[in-house]
């Protein structure tokens, strides 16, 4: 088993304002992340994900317990020494002026350079390596404000990489990206963790991607409870239901995703299978139907005719006259309409 890179010992997080009582967000957290692993921090909004991340990177003091980075308590590290072991990619969109992507990544060498900030040959080599590692070589000359969100995020990861950290912490690195960019970013982060044998920790709202990509999942629940383990452990153990309970959404363990539809009102039987059958069922579920097997009694009966090139749907309700539709849009509209 690879070395433990990040470990917390009975960590308490929260705020202790100068006046008033201190507010504990979560207590007694014991977590571990190994070298080469990608950890994902998940949880509903306002549950304290940011507080936990800020505490883990030393931007705010722990209320109790310790954060160990490669065995060293981060509270005892000087800022510069901490910056050499730990780098961060924040959610906030940075706005800089006349700065090339290369110069931006070079800023990551800050904790390694002397007081003048002069880059040595080795510093520049690492900057180039970081840009290559995230596949941003062709962006090096570009001005940062010209980059797209996805390109900019890759460059920010390169900057964090140029700090040569043992642990990289990313706060919602996929927040502003579209789906292909998100998948690309997660793939990149996994590859970086494996190839450089560093530990990566990221917070995200992207449950699907986290379930598929994370080596370790930390699920922070309201009230300060925390479930950790492999994504599959947490699904099987029912941690998702516990964490996101009560918000009017259910977690489908089989599919590993949340159900977005309200509870179904009507039973619908579908005759037909294959790809057409799957997507017809999806459309009917969205229209408020509870799907049952073809032979079971149901208020609504839908029969698929034709093939994928020219599909037809025949709808009957309570044994009444049947209607024909030629698209799922029309079918859903018919099912939702008052006629039924």
């Amino acid at each position: 088993m690879s070395a433990i890179m990040l470990e917390t010992e009975r960590l308490s997080i929260g705020y202790s304002p100068r006046r008033g009582p201190r507010r504990v967000v979560a207590a007694d957290l014991s977590l571990a992340l190994h070298a080469g692993e990608v950890g994902c921090l998940l949880g509903p909004n306002g549950v304290g994900k940011s507080t936990l991340l800020r505490t883990l990177v030393g931007m705010q003091p722990a209320l109790g317990g310790r954060v160990l980075l490669d065995g060293a308590d981060i509270a005892g590290l000087r800022p510069r020494d901490l910056a050499r072991r730990l780098s961060v990619v924040l959610t906030e969109r940075i706005e800089v002026g006349q700065l090339s992507a290369y110069a931006l990544v070079a800023l990551g060498r800050h904790p390694h350079t002397d007081w003048t900030g002069r880059l040595t040959v080795r510093d520049e080599e690492i900057v180039r390596w970081a840009l290559e590692a995230v596949g941003a070589t062709d962006l090096a000359q570009r001005q940062v404000h010209e980059l797209s969100d996805g390109e900019r995020q890759r460059v920010m990861v390169a900057r964090a990489l140029a700090q040569e950290p043992l642990l990289m912490v990313l706060d919602e690195p996929t927040a502003f990206l579209d789906l292909p960019r998100r998948v690309e970013m997660m793939r990149l982060l996994r590859r970086l963790a494996r190839e450089t044998n560093r530990a990566l920790l990221l917070s995200t709202h992207d449950l699907d991607l986290a379930l598929r990509s994370a080596d370790a999942l930390w699920l922070l629940a309201p009230g300060g409870g925390l479930h950790s383990g492999a994504p599959e452990d947490l699904v099987l153990g029912g941690a998702f239901e516990a964490t996101f309970a009560g918000a009017g959404i259910g977690f489908d363990r089989r599919q590993g995703s949340f159900q977005v539809h309200p509870p179904a009102e009507r039973r619908a039987a579908l005759v037909g299978d294959g790809l057409l059958g799957v997507w017809t069922a999806r459309a009917l579920e969205r229209a408020g139907c509870h799907m049952v097997a073809a032979h079971e009694p149901a208020a609504l009966r839908i029969v698929i005719n034709g093939d994928e090139q020219a599909p037809r749907w025949e709808v009957t309700t309570n044994g009444g006259p049947s209607q024909q539709v030629a698209s799922l849009h029309a079918l859903a509209a018919l099912v939702r309409s008052d006629a039924f």
């Binding site: 070079a106 800050h110 900030g117 062709d138």
Partner: protein, 361 residues
């Protein structure tokens, strides 16, 4: 970008140069302007004669040496020092507050100096003291001392606040409020003062490089040099702040210490200049923008020396214009800096499209 495919012979890596050629050009421009400002004035002295005098030779007319040594050289040196100080101070403030509108005076230092001067000019002596007596009492030095005390008091206050407050924006607002407070007190003093004294105060507030003597330069020059050196040692911190305070912190920068160093150095620069030259406006806000646009760089290791050279040059040019060469008239310096400078800055910023790029405000 059009050239998406890099040419194989060309390195894909840009050079993070310190723009030595550009800095050399700025230095030459400064030297040229400096000589020009010694040459031009109510009496025009040929450039070759200026050079002769500066290297210690005998000029064609003896009075020329007197004019240069007693008047133009101290004034040109003052202008160069003040311009450099204000430009570097402005650069620091714009970066610290991540605000392209910040200038050396956002911390209220010049307001403090104004208050000190106003207190001396408007209230010293009995109400029936004649203006002559006031001027005699003031001399140059008491004005300078008053401005120093005022600027120093505000500096101390701002530094004390800088140690306490969490964010630089809070500090910015506090500095602005201190400025408003002192301005209000000055207004009250002006309201209850007599016309002659008000005039003396307003003359000071126009700003001038002309009133500084050699003996005062012995104070101003070392203070400005120290402030500039302090600023140069903090360029790495300023670069770290490019990405914002949160990132700077994660890169190992001690924000609080850096902030105090920047605020102290900047306030010393601005305070010293205001004390000796009055509240000279515009240079501090404009020169950093000009430097960024000219060098197309955000690296403070380049921008700090560039602002030093460009600030000195700009101040000399403004002073030249205020002299209205060939005439005996001297125009208010502050009016000239803004009148000539503001359109230039607007033009540069629009042309380069750096308005958005400066900080992305």
């Amino acid at each position: 970008m059009a050239n998406a495919v890099p040419i194989s012979t060309e390195s894909p890596w840009p050079r993070l140069g310190l723009h030595p050629l550009a800095l050399l050009a700025l230095l030459l421009a400064l030297l040229g302007t400096f000589l020009l400002s010694l040459s031009l004035g109510s009496v025009r002295i040929p450039l070759d004669q200026v050079l002769t005098i500066v290297v210690g030779g005998q000029p064609a007319r003896a009075t020329w040496a007197t004019i240069i040594y007693d008047f133009r050289l101290p004034k040109a040196l003052t202008a160069a020092l003040a311009g450099a100080a204000l430009a570097v101070s402005g650069l620091q403030m714009q970066m610290l507050f991540r605000n392209p509108l910040a200038d050396p005076y956002v911390l209220g230092v010049s307001s403090g100096a104004s208050l000190g001067v106003a207190l001396v000019v408007l209230t010293v002596g009995a109400a029936n003291t004649t203006l002559l007596a006031v001027v005699g009492l003031l001399g140059n030095l008491s004005l300078v001392a008053a401005a120093c005390i005022g600027a120093g008091a505000v500096l101390g206050l701002v530094l004390a606040l800088a140690q306490r407050v969490q964010s630089s924006i809070t500090l910015l607002i506090l500095g602005l409020m201190v400025g408003y407070l002192t301005t209000a007190i000055v207004s009250l003093l002006l309201y209850f003062s007599i016309a002659e004294r008000i005039h003396a105060y307003i003359a000071w507030s126009f700003g001038s490089f002309g009133g500084v003597t050699w003996s005062q330069l012995r104070v101003l020059a070392p203070v400005v040099v120290i402030g500039l050196l302090l600023a140069f040692t903090l360029t790495k911190a300023l670069n770290a702040l490019l990405l914002g305070e949160a990132y700077a912190q994660t890169m190992g920068l001690n924000i609080r210490r850096a902030r105090i160093g920047i605020v102290a150095g900047s306030a010393i620069l601005a305070g010293a200049v205001t004390a000796f030259c009055g509240p000279v406006g515009f240079l501090g806000i404009a020169v950093p923008h000009l430097a960024r646009a000219l060098l197309r760089s955000a690296d403070h290791r380049v921008l700090a020396p560039a602002c030093t050279l460009l600030g000195a040059t700009t101040a000399l040019l403004a002073d030249l214009a205020a002299q209205a060469p060939g005439s005996d008239t001297v125009l208010p310096l502050n009016a000239i800096t803004a009148l000539i400078g503001a359109p230039v800055v607007v033009w540069v910023i629009l042309r380069r499209g750096v308005a958005r790029g400066a900080f992305g405000v």
